[in-house]
Symmetry: C2
Subunit: 612 residues, 2 copies
């Protein structure tokens, strides 16, 4: 790879190629339990950069893995076969907002919340709203057809992308679609690329459809004594003709996490539904009456509503942060997202919830069930000690059974996270002959198989064994209690990347090793012995300002500052100290102060500084 | 073809293969100006039939053309390369309506209005609503991603199909999608097949998403003294946040046709907008206030509204029948749908309308401009004497300029009708590199090119020259004024197929030659000398009951009964008389009555009949 790395650097410029081990390790994980380290990371600045890198990759048969914010839940952005990660963090401009056309043109690296903040100035918004909105990028959303809480009313990313600019495996650039709301002009290539997880082409621009922000919104909360009843309420509300902008369902486990982490003081019940209703005031009030009717009929225990945007925002922020916050449920346990994202026909929602509860009891695993119930999307997630082979084994069996429930209840394998690596063993049974059709399309557009290989069951249908690659290093630490504790703190980091939005050093350098998430991941690898103490490692930690913003936005509240300080101490103990710190220390030893001057000279300096 | 026809008959049964010349000619046209006659028509009854026919076609390299009701505007269903038309008229069952899932499962031949009548019993509907709803089938709608008046709010067919069963070119059957509202499970093959005009696979079943019928609806009409002002009103209404279920724009030409044909008594103005607003009463009233505000601001001349379903229905039925009714504008002139279906960004709607008006003046052609303005879809249609080479030539130049306007204003070549044959010369400029991508996908799924060849610019980018294939026979009749008059009456038939819904003989036999449209087409070919007098032709006309239902639903009011009677006389004059009529005539000559008995024997018969 080293000669070809030189070629890569000559193509896009040395400063846009990351190839040192410490930096690369920070690109080895996402929210999945997998871990694969790339050979290089390129941060393109333009379509032309992408074209050149793809051409190079196609000629040299190097895998190319497009990546947004690295918030994938399925391992879709991990370089299973090595190769070059194309990190779009620096291609993030909002090129155009055409208010009168309800259209925006953006680069793939733009972060969803930033886009919506910009659009709000014009009274507009881009409706798909995944939990990761503070970090996730439009490019990543296109790759997975992301959606989140608002899909029942507003649809998914698929419904809001009018066109794409795509670099094909050959390096050719193709534009799809038009800035119009409907067309029947050829195969809908836009739709083909959406949800293809970077396996058919690399998106370099997206034309988005926008909606006016609705004039009135309320948030309604309803509680039930039984989770199944909450599921039944979801069905009844949908069949009553109400079209909630969002309707989320949470079980007791989730509810208690939300209460604990976000101090919401919600009642503690078995089932909880939170709805957003939007539109004109008249229509919202009509819908609220219908929801209240269903709640009363099914014996809801608490019903309340608010149209105060601040109150609503608190609830929805908590809901959005639920997944990573679940990492707080049990000391030393992590939430493992496997079989975590099915969607069901409306009439199967209640039954599926009951099935998941039964499975949880059967396998003796803590399971949190929640989901975007309005669109039948449930997230049954399992919470296990990743270093306990017994728990891990039970989890894999439960995963298999969850999938059987999905098949039996006519559900889809994944509603919004995609297949990626994690669900590739189930792709054939879920897709049937469709998998072969996908393969022939893949061969047609990427004959050399360079685009994100090893994903979606396209070229390989099995995962690695064991699956817990990211957590493998924990077992090495079994004997060292203190190191294990520190590692447990680090693996509470769910790699959600919410800290990317606030970390000052990340937002200067835009590479993972210079950000909070990268430092936590590195600390874990450092403990596990995957990375040695080095100057590069020292630099990653020295640059941290210890501002603590990351901790404030971290849903499970990982103690990032403590972790950084601890690693700094470890590195110092091994002799890796920053030249500045070393000089300061030497000054103290020599002069009794940090300035490297004797006290007389310091007096002169002070005079000088105050201007004479 | 004859030996292979035998094979085809042995596969699906003789009674499901149509191969006589008279019958085949009835499958040679659609609403486009083209004409191609198939070698055979097969009416499958099941997926298995389709599989066998496709396998046969793939082995024998025979083109296969899937067809719904034959209402294509672009020639998409015409056998340009000959081959077998797969007519889905008899595969039309509504297999399942799962009210609680808001899902229906249907065969491709089901007619949209019939489906919606069935769904209305459950308070549900399938929203896409093309003008041809009384005739068009779900299969055809999937093929072209049809939409119609409701797309701005409800989207197109694409947004309401959850899954498909598709027979691939190999004969393999693939199921795509799930009965769930969102998924991210593999490439979205459903979306790939939708809008592919039968070039990638043959749909044998569709899983549809349904919506609850909104509780309240109003129809609003607004008139302007200038067409451009009407266009500006459309933009202003959309930007005010109103989401009309439908918003149609009509110019003076269209308005006068609607008034004349449907006796609506609307004011005569340059520009007319008709809106449907639906939802709860509260939200509809709020939206009405906004529309009224825009109308007042732009100096609308007449504004009125109604929530009376009958009144609304009259208006919308007239709007839906506008296209075929335009065939009534000028004696001997026809509406030629070429470049008739672009869609524009919202901000370009007004400008595009003005451009079309200028073109109409430049080329001295009668042009009707109307469209589904809420989604930027305009239909500029040209009305010409198809037998006048000068007019025809000007029309083709104007077509080219319309397309240049589309490119300049960032529009899409087709909004809802598809590319088919008519727009294939523009496919490359509209799609750019996307056309090559389409070609590689096509090769991947249909390596032998048997599925609807010659369409979408995939394998050939030019049309025949001259384009007016269907109208070619008119020129032969130039010298015979009476025959020309009759031919003109026949070509007023726009082949919209609305008569399919009511013709009793068609609804018994389900083949075109046994229906009103087929009889009109045959009468035209008969005059043009393309088909000779024959027993088969006689049968087609003798079976007509002269009930006249076809005339009642015919938008341009083609005198079908007169046509049938005239052809019967022509055929009789050439010795083609039905055995019954011949016997009746002979009885009259011999016995003085039609019964073939002398008067005494008739007395006995009468006694017998009254029971002794």
């Amino acid at each position: 790879m080293s000669t070809s790395l030189g070629l890569l650097k000559s193509i896009v410029g040395e400063e846009r190629v990351v190839d040192d081990k410490v930096s690369l390790l920070c690109y080895s994980s996402d929210m999945s339990p997998f871990a694969y380290t790339p050979d290089a990371v390129v941060l393109p600045r333009s379509r032309e950069d992408v074209v050149e890198v793809v051409k190079y990759a196609n000629e040299s048969r190097t895998p190319i893995i497009p990546r947004g914010a690295g918030t994938s839940v399925t391992g879709a952005i991990l370089p299973r076969r090595g190769g070059v990660v194309l990190d779009f963090t620096r291609m993030s401009s909002i090129k155009e907002v055409r208010v009168e056309d309800l259209v925006a043109v953006v680069e793939p690296g733009v972060v969803l919340d930033r886009l919506n903040a910009e659009l709000a100035k014009h009274g507009l918004f881009f409706p798909p709203d995944p939990g990761s909105s503070s970090a996730c990028t439009i490019g990543g959303m296109v790759g997975t057809n992301a959606s989140g809480v608002r899909a029942a009313k507003y649809g998914t990313t698929r419904n809001w992308v009018l066109g794409l600019e795509v670099v094909l495996a050959s390096g050719e650039v193709v534009r799809t679609g038009w800035p119009v709301v409907k067309h029947s002009t050829g195969y809908d290539l836009t739709q083909l690329f959406i949800g293809s997880e970077g396996t058919l082409g690399v998106v370099t621009e997206a034309v988005l459809k926008l909606a006016p922000i609705p004039p009135y919104k309320v948030t309604v909360t309803v509680f039930f004594d039984e989770l199944g009843l909450a599921g039944r309420a979801v069905t009844a509300i949908l069949l009553s003709g109400v079209r909630p902008a969002a309707m989320e369902l949470l079980d007791r486990t989730c509810l208690s996490v939300v209460n604990e982490v976000f101090k919401l003081g919600l009642p503690s019940r078995e089932g909880f539904i939170v709805l957003e209703l939007d539109g004109t005031r008249g229509s919202v009030e009509e819908e609220m009456r219908k929801v209240k009717g269903v709640a009363d009929r099914l014996g809801a225990k608490d019903y309340s509503w608010t149209d105060d945007p601040k109150e609503s925002l608190k609830l929805w922020a908590a809901r959005k942060a639920l997944v990573p916050a679940l990492a707080k449920v049990k000391e030393g346990h992590v939430l493992v997202p496997l079989a975590e994202d099915p969607s069901f026909p409306i009439s199967e929602i209640e039954g599926a919830i009951r099935d998941f509860q039964a499975l949880s009891a059967k396998y003796g695993l803590t399971t949190a069930t929640f989901g975007h119930a309005a669109d039948g999307n449930l997230h049954p997630v399992m919470i296990v000690d990743p270093a306990d082979p017994d728990q891990w084994g039970r989890m894999l069996k439960m995963e298999e059974e969850i999938f059987e429930i999905v098949l039996r209840r006519r559900g889809a394998l994944s509603a919004e996270h995609g297949i990626g690596l994690s669900k590739s063993p189930f792709a054939r049974r879920a897709l049937g002959g469709g998998l072969e059709v996908m393969r022939s399309l893949k061969r047609a557009l990427d004959p050399n198989g360079i685009l994100n290989p090893g994903k979606m069951g396209l070229d390989v249908e099995s995962r690695e064994d064991p699956v817990n690659l990211y957590y493998a290093y924990l077992s090495r630490l079994r004997g060292e209690l203190q190191a294990l504790r520190r590692a447990y703190e680090a693996v509470r980091c769910f790699r959600c990347g919410f800290c990317r939005a606030v970390c000052p050093t990340f937002n200067h350098y835009f590479v993972e090793s210079k950000g909070a998430r990268g430092r936590v991941v590195l600390s874990y690898y450092f403990l596990g012995g995957l990375v040695e103490a080095s100057e590069a490692l020292r630099q990653a930690y020295d640059q941290c300002t210890l501002c603590g913003h990351c901790v404030q936005v971290c849903p499970p509240g990982v103690k990032v500052v403590d972790i950084v300080e601890q690693v700094r101490r470890d590195l110092a103990a091994k002799g890796f100290i920053s030249p500045v710190h070393r000089a300061l220390g030497e000054n103290i030893l020599k002069y009794g102060n940090i300035y490297g001057l004797d006290n007389a000279a310091r007096g002169e300096l002070a005079k000088e500084l105050r201007g004479g």
